[in-house]
Subunit: 260 residues, 2 copies
Amino acid sequence: MRLFLLPPTFNKGSSLELTGKDFNYLIRALRLKEGQCVMGRDRDGELWNLTIVKVMKSSCILSAEKTEQIKEQTDALPEERPLKRITLYQCLPKGRKADDIIKKATEAGVRDIVLVKSRNCVANLEGKEESRLSRYDAIVTEAIQQSGSIVPTKVSGVIDIADIPKDFAARSEGLPTLGLVLHQTRLSEDQSDLFSCVRGFDGSTALVVGPEGGLEEEECQALLKGGFKAVLLKTNILRCETASIYAIGAVQTILESSCQ
Amino acid sequence: MRLFLLPPTFNKGSSLELTGKDFNYLIRALRLKEGQCVMGRDRDGELWNLTIVKVMKSSCILSAEKTEQIKEQTDALPEERPLKRITLYQCLPKGRKADDIIKKATEAGVRDIVLVKSRNCVANLEGKEESRLSRYDAIVTEAIQQSGSIVPTKVSGVIDIADIPKDFAARSEGLPTLGLVLHQTRLSEDQSDLFSCVRGFDGSTALVVGPEGGLEEEECQALLKGGFKAVLLKTNILRCETASIYAIGAVQTILESSCQ
């Protein structure tokens, strides 16, 4: 089910006018016509039945009716998928790479993206956290709309890598937990096979992805002591912005598989 | 095993000087020191034992010795992984998105990336194919180095979507084949679960990823007649540049899993 994220200016009235990006999205991208319906979600998470009442040159009028549940049949895309909870702990990458990582993870329905400071991080958000998080929020909003995600993805952080186990336990709200550290060089200990770790698991999954220089052995060991498992991806050395979405694809496909 | 791709200027002599990007890669990125060894591959695919003889401010001297096989222990990163053969049939996306797709697919060791023209492609390489393919070659070269891939990834095309089954059969060189079409809306026919399609398969796998507007139902049906299976990813609607690496991560992880 593709949900339309209502703009912050929506006053929960019975009709609204959309312009700019929202207009472009519904009318130009989704090509909705007068009379067609979409489901919307406002900034408080409430659901709305929306109907396109009138399409003008650069704006459109919608009627809005509050609803308790997602309607089965509307004119905007596919079925609802309640996806299993995934948290991405992403060590801060350089430059604009975080934008791409956040966009792709949001599309895939990752529930929480937590930015992490680890020893090899070159990027430093100190003093810029607030402005950066607000840019990431805008990226998340756009990606949620584009992908029809019903997962309310949130970006938070920056936390220290040592605090990941505690943070993950708190986020998992009592669900069984599976914490995975992607590590691309062999550790002295055994590393698990991603497939066998994830297969059949039902609960809250975390993925820790290192920065450009990778994680230090010590940092890995601390996570292992905190209950995480180190997994070696059976592929080449991936850049951090490739590793995250590659691993999300693998983990989510195995988690969501009906044939366990 | 991380292999260093020798520059085209390497004359197969017993020593060579590296400058610019190659120097940066070995000395700055990999932080190799005098006396350390790496394995190299020249443009004809031949293997070389390379030793850093001298590091200067902006260049370094290496000794080169031809070899028949990859040495077990050198100073540059991990073990060799013979990855199963994956072909990505990527319908031409808009703008520079292909750059990102090609880079990530190469890192992950996709063997062939074939650019495809389908009905909803907005991009058009007509008359620009040669210059574009040479840009893609440069992207592949860089990604191979960065990821230490031993897969000689090649970008080719543009072919028509109708020719995919024939092209895939020819590329698979007699291996068993598994052709998958990613399709994000429900088809009238049944769609397979990616996990159960791929699990336990050993052979040559193809992934067809549509352009921004997706594939037409007719195009899908033609691929199904050509022996391909339609798979629905159990996630949100992904942009084409997200779908490709997401699906490569899923497929490769399942293919390479030791626990079938």
